[in-house]
Symmetry: D3
Subunit: 62 residues, 6 copies
Amino acid sequence: MPIVQVNLIEGRTLEQKRRLVAEITNAVVNCVDAPPDAVKVILNEMPRENYASAGVLYADKK
Amino acid sequence: MPIVQVNLIEGRTLEQKRRLVAEITNAVVNCVDAPPDAVKVILNEMPRENYASAGVLYADKK
Amino acid sequence: MPIVQVNLIEGRTLEQKRRLVAEITNAVVNCVDAPPDAVKVILNEMPRENYASAGVLYADKK
Amino acid sequence: MPIVQVNLIEGRTLEQKRRLVAEITNAVVNCVDAPPDAVKVILNEMPRENYASAGVLYADKK
Amino acid sequence: MPIVQVNLIEGRTLEQKRRLVAEITNAVVNCVDAPPDAVKVILNEMPRENYASAGVLYADKK
Amino acid sequence: MPIVQVNLIEGRTLEQKRRLVAEITNAVVNCVDAPPDAVKVILNEMPRENYASAGVLYADKK
């Protein structure tokens, strides 16, 4: 039942996503004793102009 | 004031979305006694490579 | 696979929550052709001082 | 550490986003005494057919 | 229609929350030309043991 | 910059949370090449009456 949402900048390869969801699912299964089937992972990809740190868009950082 | 977010795989038709938000809004109005105007629904569509169950991307499922 | 999150002011009874998740699940099953097992609903209850409309906390509304 | 997510209809200019994240970050820094570096802002843009109020899609409103 | 969710560590006073939602709402109204009524703000308060940076819970930081 | 939100049923020990955020952070660092400092994890704990699968509250499951 754990549902994990990952917000990250767009541009990862399919292979990176494949590994990311597999490793996060393992982490959840190991640590909170949930069956693998119950673990759902959502990747939310953001364009660089839709994320900011310290008030500055990622698209504007050098 | 209830705000509902629905995460679903992309590819629904406009007509399906139209019915989905209408029926969810009805459900909320009926069950928690909120005025219809106060109910907001956000649909968050995910590509098949951005959602995983049991550690496997939906795009990789047969 | 649709995952629904409902943000609402705290204070609903168990019976109201029971009906709400059942009706929302029905709406999703009817409209997007998902199997009932795949539909997950999260209720996120907020204290009245943690929600604002038009810049005013719900706790401060008359 | 405050993490702010803003759901809004798509179609803002880069300049509008730039000002929006700067002003929201200032608001957070002023009000909860967080260092600017710790404030993250995510903009989640929705197509007009993915948002509804009172059970009607924004795309269907006149 | 912009809906803003702010995740922050618990422990702010009512007065801090009051100012925070007012200033964030102003920022949104100024920058994306939304009517104040349409702006909703949700505060999601987290206990110190429910937030981590660099893999370390906030509750464990010195 | 990846920001991870984990929705799970309440009742984990502090030690379980400690391991969970550490392992998830490692997974993200390994798979998407982010510096550890940039990875934030939010745990959102839900009471058993605030989560449903197949239209039935977790609190009502045997």
